[in-house]
Assembly symmetry: C2
Homo-oligomer: 361 residues x 2
Amino acid sequence: GKVFKVAVLPGDGIGPEVMAEALRVLDAVEQKYDVKFERTPANVGGAGIDNEGKALPDTTVAICKAADAILFGSVGGPKWESLPPDEQPERGALLPLRKIFGLYANLRPAIIFPSLTGASSLKEEVIAGGFNVLVIRELTGGIYFAQPKGIDGAGRDRVGYDTMRYSVPEIERITHVAFQAARKRGKRVCSIDKANVLSSSVLWREVVTGIAKEYPDVELSHMYVDNAAMQLVRWPKQFDVILCENMFGDILSDEAAMLTGSLGMLPSASLAEGSFGMYEPSGGSAPDIAGQGIANPIAQILSAGMMLRYSFGMVEAADAIDNAVAKVLDQGYRTRDIYQEKAGEKLVNTREMGAAIVGNL
Amino acid sequence: GKVFKVAVLPGDGIGPEVMAEALRVLDAVEQKYDVKFERTPANVGGAGIDNEGKALPDTTVAICKAADAILFGSVGGPKWESLPPDEQPERGALLPLRKIFGLYANLRPAIIFPSLTGASSLKEEVIAGGFNVLVIRELTGGIYFAQPKGIDGAGRDRVGYDTMRYSVPEIERITHVAFQAARKRGKRVCSIDKANVLSSSVLWREVVTGIAKEYPDVELSHMYVDNAAMQLVRWPKQFDVILCENMFGDILSDEAAMLTGSLGMLPSASLAEGSFGMYEPSGGSAPDIAGQGIANPIAQILSAGMMLRYSFGMVEAADAIDNAVAKVLDQGYRTRDIYQEKAGEKLVNTREMGAAIVGNL
Ligand SMILES: CC(C)[C@H](C(=O)O)[C@@H](O)C(=O)O
Ligand SMILES: CC(C)[C@H](C(=O)O)[C@@H](O)C(=O)O
């Protein structure tokens, strides 16, 4: 059987609790399929700061380098909020991980689970039947990383500046990811830019349009980012795959995730060239409910599923996880965050939700 | 009596039709108050391109320079969409107008009119009682205008880049606008940035925090732009005044406007230092319904009201316009875009809606 090495980074808040359930699901996958997941835990975020002095300790980087994929929990909490931005758990762990491992393609599905439409702030008529949008965000370029960036001068003469920059190959590779994903779904890519104002967007639009010719079976449209922020609210079902540069993707993927009302249920993947990737829930570390065993482990479990799909090529097992989650929701299992006090719902804790999913595998 | 000079730029699509009603409202204000509005029409947008060869003709600039304020309709349409971005009606008219006249403060109220909550895509429980958010967007700085900006190289070696830059005085003056506005409203400012990633945001946050000390009666909070995109969807009522740099404001003000469901009803003001300003509806030129006399003139009329309030200091007349609009909505008058086929609603056209508002003045 195959052996895959997984760097396990539970992080802070509810991270360790929900990670425990994802690991149980991996155990179950080992039982059912001829595979072994060799797991090495490592500190990250606040746990990194507290135990090893920084959000992304060197030992953690080494463990990740030796692994085939990173399974990431969540980081951050009030304890570390007064640190300088650079050193804080989120910024200090995520940006270096993305850069070191070349995680250029961020896949964030925004899905309304049919049994959970009630949780969305959108009207029933807007989301009837659910929606399923995949935001593909470029993750190692643009205004996050380009130079120059800084603050010059002193006092009232200070000027703060950042550079948004994209090269053709950077745009090309993320565009391929979007079109390949669209091929396996609704066959539509909507590329987001601000080409009426930004030069980087003019290049973005031109390169995306060029690459689209290699995918005649996929329909391409372009939309300005301000309009996209509106259209997501107005009629999210109009979208299949949304392709964005780094910052627009940061904003729109969060907006789309919140529109589902299922933020605690959404996984994400950040992929490098080749098969390496990092997998993490879209939601945060929820320090307010940490340690109580009541957090929803579904996002973490679905993130493990994405790891099987994208890094380990285990499509069947990944589908099995997705199906097990859907079944458990249909059966009425609800952690507190998604409990609506309706007939047929069973309020469960983190452990029970994990067990129910494993039971359905 | 006082005389104010107004440059009237109806533009394209429904612009001329809704502008006609706003001008009728100005006539009524002249009757009621001791004031005269000297109006000079000028071409802008597609009308500028067709009649004078560019989106912002020199004659139009001269007319605006001679005026005390600009009343702007809307620009753009399919006819001009294949032009290079720089020359298109929206980009080619709006950005130069902002720069030439130093329109650094963009005020965009996102209001749910209590009688129109049905039009929002948000659930009744999320918007019960309506909401009233004022987005204040810095409009002449940031990534829209800073240099360097361009595309270098050839073929696959091309690189596209833009610069996001803010100086302390630029941040200070827009922050004062936000705090002064908040003082007259809910006394809360939420400043949006991405200080965990952008250096310009680090400076932004610091300067905003400093200015806030001059307004001890107003509460300041900070929020990352990605979180703001989520929070607007989750619970828009949490916001009073939202303060943004140029691009974040572009995105969030459109999101907030769409959340109201009343996009065709929302005015905006773009203010220079002193009393000069430009006033325009938040919605677009709606070429699909242009020329039919069915467009909703309310956004244009409320924009004229903002002109009275901010450029001419006519607070009483501005309040009267706002109240007349609210009354007409309560009386059930509805143009097609806001007609919900409910009991008590009267479907009216552009002219009839204008007349009803004038009648209530
Ligand atoms: C923590 C922050 C740097 C990060 C980002 O902006 O990319 C986060 O918002 C995300 O989307 O993963
Ligand atoms: C047309 C465009 C340049 C403009 C902007 O981005 O500022 C528009 O979206 C707006 O918000 O007024």
